[in-house]
Each structure stands twice: as structure tokens, then as C-alpha cells.
């Protein structure tokens, strides 16, 4: 993975004062996870199981480890080993994985469930770039081995560290003798839900009943059920497995604008399996570039004192660049979708901004456009967005300090319908000639979300770290009130999650 494991041993970005030679050892919370009955699942359907496991690793295991400041050390085919600085984070990560797996399994018959066993131990271990060694790892692996499917088992060492910090139920399973380890190890089972302490068994029965009913139901009313409930080609997803790529039919990848209910059950668009119907066999049309407005460089005061996230106000210098006159439209988006480069086609009006796009979706669009046009199109940085939105003003709104009708497409600001954003270019442009810089659709920027501007760059560059879980959205939407259309207003949202008011605009350096 990124960087050397040694780098995180002393915390982030800190270099050990004295360089050490020899084997690096450190105290770490080791999490070992493994799929129960993997060979049985592989026997049932090798390719599908493999695809599902890969998807779970990509969508759940890896992000959960990163979110909890851990490090994936290695994959073991059907499992993983991760290390964490903090026992609390390690156990939280285990709980998150198990809870999420409940959701993923809920729609499937029990025979297709993928269930992890997870063991967590605290130990002094030897770290190598792609592996980790020591008793501590062996104990974690043994804990994993004795854990029930769907459970997290922890050692006494971990328990002592987290018992007053992590509000969970802990069920002591006593001291266990573990193979090749001299001293017995005290083992605890984690019950993520404290109220479940006495109900654990009962709850498992509930799960069994629910899954039993689900099977009965699936057998009984399958035909009508699917036709009525999933008219848009989600049958493949529901009937087989969450990880199976949607079975394509003619309109499987389409949806009406903006009708979030018609969205596919895919949280993270994967470029490898783009659910878009093949384009009609027409000669490829040249890509129409969005209208771009070149802006001069300059220095401006970014931020405001109206919200804690907008502080401190700081000077930022922007280099000349161009930004799209409007948010990206449904028409522009669909060209990308038709080329199989964007995740879904939108039906309905095409003169409104595209919505329900995640940051990852937006990045796919700019990557496609840049490739097609041979121009370095990109998302604007947060600083560029605010500079463009202010249009040279320093007032609360770009038109002044008071709300005025007809200036922004926001809640209670116009008499537009709430169903979808206004047609592009319906309202007045700002002094830079840009439309909908405030209101309309929320707009993704390149920057990772930071809760305020402490430590923000002053050169207009995007403020990013590797793999950040949420990115900055700007502009407010037609469903937000007037506070959100201020050019300084900012918020963050999960990188891979779509929401019906989220769109974007594009930029290019001059």
C-alpha cells in the first residue's frame, strides 16, 4: 500500500528522532479477519464469490481500515490482516465491518451469506513492508479462528485498553489455551449493541427467522415481486448477489432526472463494470465542450465569519483559470454515459444540471472529457470555486448583503418547483458571467473536506490528502435556504455517495 509501514509507527508525519537499524518492532492492535466457509462458497459459485469478496474488500474492508487510521498489511485470499495504533479504533473497525456485513447479507439466502470472523489482539510485533510477524499476530489469528461467524473476539489485552472507552457489551469467554502459545489467553466477545448483552442469542434467532421468511417469500412471489418492485433492471442485483455487476438490459443504466428512486444499487461506481447500455451504432460524434469562462488571476479574502467552518478568513492568490459557465448539464453528462465512461444515463430534461452524482462520478466525467478533448479539464479547487463565485465582490452574496429575489435558485428564494433544479441559465449571472454560483445544485470540488481553514493552502491549489473519505461541496442547492447560497458557505459529503441535489462544474488551468 502507500508508503512504508514504518512511517505510521511513530504517528503521522513524525520522523523518529533516532534512525534505528535492525528489525522494526512496535506495539500494535492487530486485526485478523477471515471469511467463514469460503471454500464452500467458492464451490457454490467460484466467479461470483470471488467478485463479491473483491467488492467487499474494496467497498468495505479497505475504507473501514483507513477510516479508523489503520493499515492493511496483507490480504490472505479470503481474509486480511490490519494493524492499528489504537485498540479502540481497531475494535471499532471490526464492529463496523460486521455491522455492514449484516446489511449486505440481509437480502440473501443464508447459504450465500459472506460472514467474517474477526479477532483482535494487542501485541509487540515485527513489521515488514508487506507482512507482520510475532506471537501477537498468531494470537489474533487464533482468536479469529474461534470466533463465531459475524463476531468480533478480542484478547484480554485489548479488553483492558478499551473497556471504559468503547461503549459495548463484552462477554467474557474465560481463559483459552491457544495452540503453540504457552500462557492461556483471556477471550472476550464484543457485542456492539450494549442492550444486546442478554439478547444476543434471541437476536440470532430473529435473524434466522427473517432470513427464513425471506427465502419463503423469494420462492413464493418472485415474478410479480420483482416486476413491480424493481422495474429498472435491478433484478440481477437482488436475485443474485450484491457484488454481481448488474445484468444489463436495454434501459438498465438509465434513470429519469432527477428521480433518485430509480438509482441502481451501486454505492461506488467501478470503472471496470460500467452499467451503461452500449451506444447505438452511430459514428462517434465529436464531444461538445462545456462553455468555459476564462477568469483573471487575483488575490481575495476567502471565508467569512458567518459559520465556524468558514473561519479563519484568509488571503488566497488564484492563478488565471477557466471555469464552466454553468454546472455540467444532463446533456453533457449523457455524452459521457453514452461513451460508457460515466456510470449512468439520465432520462428526461437535458437542459438542467445533472444531479445525483458522487464525487467519484464527477471525477469520471472530467477524466473522460480530458481524454476526449486532449485538454486538462478537472474539478475546480475549493478556493477557485469561491473566487469565481464571489465575482470580485466581498459581500455576503455576490449581489450585495441582502437577499434579493431572482438571484439564486434556493428554498424560499424563487417560486420554482422543488422537484428539480431550474433550467440552466434561468437566473442572473454573477459579475464574472457565471450562472448558478450559489443555489441550483451543490457542486463538488477537488478538495478533501476540512472542518475549517486552519492550515489551508494560500495558493489556490486543492487541499487534499490521499483517499479522503469526504470532499467539499459548494453552492448550496435548490433545496437549501439562503444561508447556503453565500459564496463562502461550504460543506462536506462522502466521496462515494450520491445525493439528489449534488452536481458539479468543471475547470481548466489557463
Amino acid at each position: 500500500m502507500r508508503g512504508e509501514i514504518r512511517d505510521i509507527s511513530s504517528g503521522r508525519g513524525k520522523d523518529p528522532a533516532t534512525p534505528r537499524v535492525g528489525t522494526p518492532r512496535r506495539l500494535a492492535a492487530i486485526v485478523v479477519g477471515d471469511i467463514c466457509g469460503y471454500s464452500r462458497l467458492m464451490e457454490l459459485d467460484e466467479e461470483e464469490t470471488h467478485a463479491r469478496v473483491k467488492r467487499i474488500e474494496r467497498d468495505l474492508i479497505e475504507p473501514s481500515i483507513t477510516e479508523h487510521d489503520g493499515k492493511l498489511v496483507k490480504r490472505t485470499g479470503d481474509g486480511f490482516i490490519a494493524i492499528f495504533d489504537s485498540p479502540v479504533e481497531a475494535v471499532r473497525c471490526g464492529i463496523v465491518i460486521q455491522q455492514s456485513m449484516i446489511g449486505r447479507n440481509a437480502a440473501l439466502p443464508k447459504s450465500s451469506w459472506i460472514e467474517y470472523r474477526i479477532g483482535v489482539n494487542l501485541g509487540d510485533v515485527i513489521i515488514e513492508p508487506n507482512d507482520v510477524f510475532g506471537d501477537g499476530v498468531n494470537i489474533a489469528a487464533r482468536l479469529e479462528g474461534i470466533a463465531d461467524p459475524g463476531q468480533v473476539y478480542i484478547s484480554g489485552g485489548i479488553y483492558e485498553q478499551i473497556k471504559h472507552k468503547l461503549v459495548c457489551g463484552y462477554e467474557s469467554l474465560g481463559d483459552r489455551k491457544i495452540k503453540n502459545i504457552t500462557d492461556p489467553v483471556r477471550v472476550y466477545r464484543v457485542l456492539p449493541d450494549p442492550a444486546a448483552f442478554n439478547k444476543a442469542r434471541k437476536r440470532r434467532e430473529h435473524v434466522l427467522i427473517i432470513s427464513f421468511c425471506a427465502i419463503l417469500l423469494a420462492l413464493a412471489g418472485a415474478g410479480v415481486w420483482y416486476m413491480r418492485a424493481y422495474p429498472r433492471g435491478e433484478i440481477g442485483n437482488q436475485a443474485s448477489a450484491p457484488s454481481a455487476p448488474p445484468q444489463e438490459t436495454g434501459n438498465a443504466g438509465t434513470r429519469s432526472a432527477p428521480a433518485p428512486a430509480a438509482k441502481q444499487a451501486r454505492p461506488e461506481p467501478a470503472p471496470a463494470v460500467t452499467p451503461v447500455p452500449p451506444p447505438p451504432p452511430a459514428p462517434p460524434k465529436p464531444v461538445i465542450e462545456p462553455v468555459m469562462v476564462p477568469l483573471p488571476g487575483g488575490t481575495f479574502a476567502m471565508g467569512s465569519n458567518d459559520d465556524i467552518s468558514e473561519k479563519p478568513v484568509h488571503q488566497v492568490t488564484i492563478k488565471p483559470f477557466a471555469i464552466s459557465k454553468y454546472p455540467v448539464s444532463v446533456r453533457e453528462w449523457n455524452a459521457c454515459a453514452a461513451a460508457n465512461a460515466c456510470a449512468f444515463l439520465v432520462t428526461g430534461r437535458d437542459d438542467i444540471p445533472v444531479t445525483d452524482v458522487s464525487w467519484t462520478d464527477a471525477k469520471q466525467f472530467v477524466a473522460w472529457l480530458a481524454k476526449e478533448t486532449q485538454k486538462a479539464f478537472r474539478l475546480p479547487s475549493e478556493a477557485e470555486w469561491e473566487y469565481a463565485a464571489r465575482g470580485g465582490t466581498q459581500t455576503k452574496y455576490w449581489w450585495g448583503d441582502q437577499l434579493q429575489p431572482g438571484m439564486a435558485n434556493c428554498k424560499n428564494c424563487t417560486d420554482a418547483t422543488a422537484e428539480q433544479p431550474l433550467k440552466l441559465g434561468s437566473l442572473k449571472p454573477n459579475p464574472f458571467g457565471l450562472y448558478d454560483m450559489g443555489g441550483g445544485v451543490n457542486q463538488w470540488t477537488e478538495d478533501c473536506w476540512h472542518k475549517n481553514y486552519q492550515g489551508a493552502p494560500q495558493n489556490g491549489a486543492p487541499w487534499v490528502e490521499n483517499d479522503c473519505v469526504s470532499h467539499v461541496i459548494r453552492s448550496g442547492s435548490w433545496k437549501n435556504d439562503a444561508r447556503y447560497v453565500r459564496p463562502a458557505s461550504r460543506d462536506g459529503y462522502d466521496t462515494n455517495v450520491r445525493y439528489p441535489t449534488h452536481g458539479f462544474r468543471i475547470a481548466i488551468s489557463s
Binding site: 467497498d59 468495505l60 475504507p63 477510516e67 471499532r92 464492529i95 455491522q99 455492514s100 449484516i102 446489511g103 449486505r104 447479507n105 440481509a106 437480502a107 461503549v167 456492539p192 449493541d193 450494549p194 442492550a195 444486546a196 430473529h206 427467522i209 427473517i210 421468511c213 425471506a214 417469500l217 413464493a220 412471489g221 415481486w225 413491480r228 418492485a229 424493481y230 435491478e234 442485483n237 450484491p242 433518485p260 428512486a261 430509480a262 438509482k263 444499487a265 451501486r266 454505492p267 461506488e268 459559520d307 465556524i308 473519505v469 442547492s477 433545496k479 437549501n480 460543506d491 459529503y493 462522502d494 466521496t495 462515494n496 455517495v497 450520491r498 445525493y499 439528489p500 441535489t501 449534488h502
Partner: protein, 141 residues
């Protein structure tokens, strides 16, 4: 007891799909959404980890449409009633946890605040009937 549960559940499940994708997916009757932490009337110094509890349903990503699963939304100082026909709003008072998070670091200005959890389906709509937690009050010192 178990038989009754089974009948109720299968009846519920068999009617459920008809309502799917009209807004408001149905959810298990015994689903419970609650705060693991903080407790109602807690007095807290500074920022805190808010932990979300969900019984008899699973947590999944936004975009996933598996039965009996959803993702968390935390409503801070929201007094407007929830509109079951609309996606759960996205703003500074309606925090979304569409990546399947079951906890969040929350920082609020000093004073009294209300917190409430709402479970959303794959497209951010509330379930029908809505799966919501008790509205709790916390005081930030």
C-alpha cells in the same frame, strides 16, 4: 411466540415489496434506532463521538437497496417534521452517513442541542413508517 413472529414477519415481508420505490421502503416492525452514546440529558465537554445503534436491521452504504438495511442520518437541532415523501435533506443540521458509518465525531457550540437519528434507504428516503430514534438533548459545556 416464535410462530406468531414468523407469521407477522412473513406477512410484513410479502406486502413490503409493493411499497418499494414508492417513497418509503418498509422496515421490520421491531427495528430500533437509538443512541448508544450520548445518553439523553448528557452534559459533554467539547467534541464527542456520537455512536449510532440499530437493532434488527443492518447498516449499509447509500445506494445499496438490500431489504432491511439502511444508513444513518443525524439531525441536529431540527424541529421541522420529517417529510416521508422527500429525501432526508442534506445540510448542516442533517448529517449523512452514507458510507455506512456507525459513529461520528460531533462538535457543537456550547449550549443545549437536540440530536435525533433517522434511518434512510438507498436513495436517502425515510422508511415507512420512519425508523427514528428518540430525540435526545445534550448540553455542551
Amino acid at each position: 411466540m416464535r410462530i406468531t413472529g414468523l407469521i407477522v414477519l412473513s406477512a410484513m415481508l410479502s406486502t413490503a415489496p409493493l411499497a418499494v420505490h414508492a417513497q418509503g421502503k418498509s422496515a421490520p416492525k421491531d427495528a430500533v434506532l437509538y443512541f448508544v452514546w450520548p445518553q439523553d440529558k448528557a452534559v459533554i465537554k467539547g467534541g464527542f463521538w456520537c455512536r449510532f445503534g440499530l437493532r434488527n436491521m443492518g447498516v449499509t452504504h447509500a445506494g445499496d437497496n438490500f431489504q432491511n438495511s439502511g444508513h444513518h442520518h443525524l439531525l441536529i437541532d431540527v424541529n421541522d417534521p420529517l417529510d416521508p415523501k422527500e429525501p432526508i435533506p442534506q445540510d448542516k443540521s442533517h448529517l449523512h452517513f452514507g458510507a455506512g458509518q456507525t459513529e461520528a465525531r460531533i462538535e457543537l457550540p456550547p449550549g443545549k442541542h437536540t440530536l435525533q437519528l433517522v434511518l434512510g434507504d438507498g436513495a436517502h428516503y425515510p422508511f415507512n413508517p420512519p425508523i427514528v430514534s428518540n430525540k435526545i438533548t445534550v448540553t455542551i459545556k
